[in-house]
């Protein structure tokens, strides 16, 4: 059964991919891209990657789609037919694909439990993390502690994106309420948005603090939190949303998240440990790990949520 679902999803992904190549309406392409992302999120569930699935659904199918729609609205919906036949690109792609397929020939089989990838570092994460860190979700342990430094880098990347969007699109401190005029007349949508808004925020908090035990964590929570506000802005206008969370506050929050993360690392240094060595943060090493993970996930959540909103504000407040 699992294999069947797997195959169907892969087939649908291929069809969607080819349709994206062929379709000329950019709005249509955007919708297909969103579907592509949602299909891959479903595939991740089948492949046991629940944390990744949650993230892909929220980021790929959610935020990325919003940004693409906004870009199409600000530019154009039509794709011009290319003048020249794309022969060289086709050759490059064929060669690259052929090289990759050649590379698969010596790979361990899909799902093989004896593959070297599962037998070495990953194996000890599964065995040792309950003792060393004491968190059931191994993905959280690796993400926040063993490879916590990558995650600091990741928060920095998303912070860089915010700085970039601010530099390129800026934002107006006073948004006008014209953007969502279409939706504002729709009473049903507004009522539903009002109902969903607190639920989404509540769910975001759940994902934020339940990440140790189930799928979730700062990234997913941050994105879901931002989605709640985006829905609010869609229903009640950008100006209303900006009165709730002003742009200047977002700037401070985005910076604060990165700083919280870095401060946890520096604090563990001051307490005599290495950078990001959480176990020195409390008397008991396990408690220290818990505290460290809680704090950095909080930093991640704050930065991700505010960066998503900065980017959204940037795109939506842009008008000719």
């Amino acid at each position: 059964m699992e294999n069947l679902i797997n195959d169907v999803l892969l087939g649908l992904l291929m069809i969607t991919g080819f349709a994206i190549v062929r379709m000329k309406s950019l709005l249509g392409v955007t919708m297909l891209t969103s579907i592509y992302s949602l299909l891959s999120a479903s595939l991740f569930v089948v492949l046991d990657a629940v944390d990744v699935a949650l993230t892909e659904a929220a980021i790929g199918a959610g935020i990325a789609t919003v940004l693409m729609v906004a870009t199409v609205a600000l530019t154009t919906d039509e794709e011009k037919v290319p003048r020249h036949t794309p022969l060289l690109p086709l050759l490059v792609v064929m060669a690259t694909g052929a090289a990759l397929i050649y590379g698969t020939l010596d790979m361990p089989h899909h799902g093989d439990p004896l593959a070297p990838a599962h037998r070495y570092v990953a194996d000890s994460y599964l065995h040792d993390s309950p003792v060393e860190i004491g968190v059931p979700n191994v993905v959280t342990s690796v993400l926040a502690s063993y490879r916590g430094y990558d995650t600091l880098g990741e928060v920095t990347v998303i912070f860089t994106a915010a700085a970039g969007v601010l530099a390129l699109l800026g934002y107006r401190t006073r948004g006008r309420n014209i953007e969502a005029a279409g939706i504002r007349k729709q009473v049903v949508l507004r009522v539903i948005a009002k109902l969903f808004f607190p639920l989404i925020l509540l769910f975001a908090l759940y994902v934020q603090f339940h990440g140790d035990y189930g799928p979730g964590g700062g990234f997913q929570a941050g994105v879901i939190f931002a989605t709640g506000f985006i829905l609010y802005a869609l229903a009640f206008g950008l100006g209303t949303a900006q009165r709730l969370i002003p742009s200047q506050l977002l700037r401070i929050l985005a910076a604060a998240g990165v700083l919280i993360y870095a401060a946890v690392g520096l604090e563990s240094m001051l307490l005599g440990g290495k950078f990001l060595e959480y176990r020195v943060l409390a008397d008991d090493p396990i408690a220290g790990q818990h505290l460290g993970i809680l704090l950095i996930e909080l930093g991640v959540g704050i930065t991700v949520a505010s960066v998503m909103l900065i980017i959204y504000y940037g795109f939506v407040s842009r008008r000719h």
Partner: protein, 494 residues
């Protein structure tokens, strides 16, 4: 106590001060913050070089997790040299930036400019010190994303398209690297570079590893603008703000070359890279093509910034040529040229920044008779140009001396001829500028311009001074480079 944490602080300091910079409202404050940090970063880099020289390779386990479970920071002599290059250039261009950015970038953007500059600095340093293949990808993306922003801040609309083109090619490169890392992980089960290299011996002779090697090599080659994957570079350097061109020309591509060194020697080893995969021959061919073709193209450019950009593609060829020999002398020569070229090219771009400040243009036709108006700036340009050509008493001569020597030792005499030919081409394109600025009379409508301010001239002349110092006494640089090359070759032979 602090000295043990230097590897982490080297990267975390600029990384954590970037958000602070974003919050500073006044452009002067943001500039002062970035400047202070860049000098601290240089101080840390100097201390690290001393540490590595005294105690050998430094390893720092982040989070105190032992390798390969955690991420390791690892600095050997080659890494120390690279940190020194990046930190020095960062510390030298920021004083220059104060005035230059004020003119070239809108006031409300300058805080964001310094934020992105610090992020880029942190990213580049992170790439150099990390010993983890995936962490390298993360920091590569930090440096790349901030570079796209920095380039897009240039004052013409073509800066936007240049940044977009770089974004597309850079992301393809990064994704190729990601695929390669995935394939390596698939067969070795680890991400730590030293650990990968040890576990690779059993599985090296598989098709999967060969493909992994090809993908990371192509990905990194895009980042370092190896001919013919250099297409993003000329536009990016031409349309970026002056400071950004100077900083990138000296650091971004150089860090890419360093990653290539790490891959060929530390991760895959000489036996695999150079004997089984024949990467030496391929690189030699591409490097030779870069030296000739890019130098030829540079001659026909009328925008001097673009001319220098093509010259950079050619000079990257020289460095890769040294590395492709896979001998201690060859790699050392490549690294010496890497160091020297970073100083020279940065100085040249800085002097162009001075010209742009006064003229608002770097087109050759606008520079007629400029030497009388801006004697110090033009003198700096000429001094840098001489070094680019490789005249004796300049650092460029030292690099070419070692390069020719290494090529001849291995019996590649045609390469020595190529190096001389390419230098001749460099003479032509530098001469075009000299001829225009010194021997032509300014046109009737040309503005009467003043010499550039000292805050901009001093950084350029500092680098020119270093260049002449190395030209006379190269023992320090050559010593470090030979030691670094020795370690790399030692890691490569297994």
């Amino acid at each position: 106590m602090l000295s043990t944490h230097l590897p982490a602080l080297q990267v975390v300091l600029p990384l954590a001060s970037a958000p602070v910079c974003l919050l500073l409202r006044h452009p002067r404050h943001a500039w002062a913050c970035a400047l202070t940090i860049s000098w601290l970063v240089l101080a840390i880099a100097v201390m690290l070089v001393q540490q590595v020289a005294a105690t050998g390779t430094i390893s720092y386990a982040i989070g105190a997790w032992a390798t390969p479970w955690g991420i390791e920071y690892r600095i050997d002599m080659a890494g120390a040299l690279m940190i020194l290059v990046v930190a020095t250039i960062g510390a030298v261009v920021l004083p220059f930036a104060g005035r230059s950015i004020q003119q070239e970038i809108r006031k409300k953007h300058s805080g964001l400019f310094y934020t992105c500059f610090l992020l880029c600095l942190a990213g580049l340093l992170g790439i150099v010190v990390t010993g983890d293949a995936f962490n390298l990808f993360v920091f590569l993306e930090i440096s790349s994303l901030s570079s796209y922003v920095l380039i897009s801040l240039g004052c013409t609309r073509r800066a936007l398209t240049a940044a977009f083109q770089y974004l597309v090619m850079g992301t393809i490169g990064a994704t190729f690297i990601l695929i390669g890392v995935g394939l390596l992980y698939m067969l070795t089960g680890t991400l730590n570079m030293v650990d990968i290299s040890q576990r690779l011996t059993e599985v090296a002779d598989t098709r999967t590893i060969r493909v992994a090697f090809a993908f990371v090599t192509v990905g990194v080659s895009i980042k370092l603008a190896l001919f013919p994957l250099h297409l993003w570079l000329p536009n990016a350097y031409t349309f970026a703000p002056s400071v950004v061109s100077a900083f990138f020309a000296a650091t971004a591509t150089k860090v890419g070359i360093y990653v290539l060194l790490r891959l060929f020697f530390t991760v895959f080893g000489i036996g695999f890279s150079f004997v089984a995969m024949h990467v030496g021959e391929i690189m030699m061919l591409l490097a030779a093509a870069a030296m000739m073709v890019a130098s030829l193209v540079a001659i026909f450019q009328n925008n001097v910034k673009r001319m220098l950009a093509y010259s950079s593609v050619a000079q990257i060829g020289y460095i890769i040529l040294g590395i492709s020999l896979a001998s201690r002398d060859g790699v050392a020569a490549g690294m010496i040229h890497l160091f020297n070229h970073a100083l020279i090219k940065c100085a040249l771009f800085l002097s162009l920044g001075c010209i742009f400040l006064r003229l608002g243009s770097v087109e050759l036709q606008d520079m007629r008779g400029l030497a009388k108006r801006m004697p110090w700036t033009m003198a700096a340009f000429v001094a840098g140009g001489l070094s680019l050509i490789g005249l004796p008493l300049t650092s460029g001569f030292i690099s070419k001396w070692y390069l020719v020597g290494a090529a001849l030792t291995d019996g590649y005499w045609p390469l020595a001829v190529l190096i001389l030919l390419s230098s001749l081409l460099a003479l032509i394109y530098i001469w075009r500028v000299v001829e225009t600025a010194y021997f032509q009379v300014p046109g009737a409508g040309m503005p009467l311009v003043k010499e550039a301010p000292a805050s901009m001239l001093i950084p350029a002349w500092l680098l020119i001074g270093a260049n002449f110092y190395i030209g006379v006494d190269a023992s320090l640089v050559s010593g470090i480079a030979h030691q670094a090359a020795g370690i790399l070759i030692e890691q490569g032979v297994r």
